[in-house]
């Protein structure tokens, strides 16, 4: 019986099995072409396949099983797959060197001292700083024709942000009072909301808000800081590849953003 191996008739989209078969090279030329033709039309499936392909290449680069001379199969982690903190590696080495030997009583105080010393002397973690945005004076700017009208939630949210009350600012900025807010108001709300979320430590949520912002339309005074906040939110929420990519773009720019990026890259 000739079973379909790419698409079931009930669901025209790619599933995880098809992605796996495609990426491992298990599909015939005709089947592979069907997948490619489908993803040309379907952004969701294109995203899925691209994500799985990227993941596969990352694992190819960073994870490999290695057969030790003693016949034991172990996993070698390289690059970004190596996530152990240096202190935990130090501790494991000390523990391994001590276990099963009579040196333990002597080495224990030394190990503890080494851990404390390492804690004291450890360099700052490479986490980009997040600064508040410059204050936005709504009344002065509201003559802008793109602004639909005064939105009390936005005004109060910005005031709360100015006071440093980020929790209140988040609550207010998430709820636009007016249904038909203008383009500029929307951008304004998003950058302050994203910034407030980032300052509250909700980095993943901040990144989700700030990735929608069209930074080319934001006045430089707020745009550069908001864009940097986006990068910092990505980096702090573990989206390292995206953050790294953004940093590379920043580094080529003039101004504060470029200087900061180059400084981080230099470090």
């Amino acid at each position: 019986m000739n079973h379909p191996t790419v698409f079931a008739s009930s669901d025209p989209h790619l599933d995880e099995h098809v992605c796996l078969d495609f990426l491992q090279g298990f599909l015939s030329t005709v089947e592979r072409e069907r997948v490619l033709r489908h993803i040309e039309q379907c952004p969701a499936c294109e995203d899925l396949l691209r994500e799985r392909a990227a993941e596969r290449e990352r694992f190819r680069a960073t994870l490999r099983p290695v057969l030790r001379p003693n016949g034991k199969l172990v996993l070698e982690r390289l690059g970004s797959a190596r996530r152990d903190h240096p202190l935990s590696i130090l501790w494991r080495r000390i523990r391994t060197s001590c276990t099963g030997s009579r040196r333990w009583p002597l080495l224990a105080p030394a190990a503890i001292a080494a851990v404390f010393l390492a804690l004291l002397l450890r360099p700052d973690a490479p986490t980009p700083r997040i600064e508040p945005l410059p204050p936005y004076h709504f009344e002065l700017q509201s003559r802008d024709p793109l602004v639909a009208g005064p939105d009390r939630n936005l005004q109060n949210g910005l005031a709360a942000y100015d006071r440093g009350d980020y929790a209140t600012a988040i609550a207010l900025l998430q709820e636009p009072e007016l249904g038909n807010e203008g383009a500029l108001v929307k951008v304004l709300r998003e950058i302050f909301l994203g910034s407030a979320l980032a300052l509250q430590g909700e980095h993943a949520a901040a990144a989700r808000v700030l990735e929608k912002v069209p930074y080319q339309f934001v006045p430089e005074e707020w745009g550069q800081e908001a864009h940097w906040t986006f990068y910092a939110a990505l980096a702090r929420s573990g989206q390292i590849a995206r953050a790294d990519s953004l940093l590379t773009v920043f580094a080529e720019k003039p101004g504060v953003l470029g200087e900061r990026a180059r400084e981080v890259m230099h470090r």
Binding site: V6, A44, R77, A241, D244
Partner: protein
Amino acid sequence: MDLQIKLPARDSSRAPDSTAVHPQWPVRLREWAREFQVTRAQAVRGHLWQTLHAAMLLYLRIHGTRLGRLDREDLEDVAAEKALDLLRKIEAGQVDFTHPTPGEITSYISRAARNALIDSQRARARLVDRPQAGESERSVVDPPNLRVERREFIEALRDCFAALQPRTQRIWFLRVIYRMQSRDIALHPDVGLTVNHVDVIAKRAREAIRRCMRASRFESRDMPTGTFAALWRAFHDGSAPRQERVR
């Protein structure tokens, strides 16, 4: 020791679906397990590992949507750990993948992933939000002028990409399309360069693509749907499609 994979209980209430998708990977897994049993070749071990790892990730994701998802790092850790465990068992002859049907192999891996997920969640008690239903449901319905613009952009990008040296193409593809970090690209088995060298090549590639796109009157922008397929063909098949495929 029980070396056989137990068959999963059949659900008699569901009629067999003649249109169901039959994945190829369990068939290949069985072939490699057979080959490995005879040759013990490192290359075959590599194939087995990659497929086991990808299959384990696949089922961790599938079960994760029902049982609650792990965050990305935990998911990757569990997949790597369990795939290695399975590879060790295959090598030691504790699990036999040379005889079962593809369906039995998928059931076994599915069950292993499910158990691993439950164990991991119990141990770590760290769950993340489930995705919103229908979040990714969108499709391309461009007006005709945008369709033409999209097609022209993709064709220009594909031609610019094809003009790069093969090594530069590979690095640009990994960096820009897969968004990989330089240190991972440097370690990639198809690259094998220093991180600094990767950075230099990636920067030059970006500039070359930007210049080439400007020459075709296109500025940098988000890549439209269809770009990945076009570049995939150019990169993996080394050939560009002769006729229009992006509509």
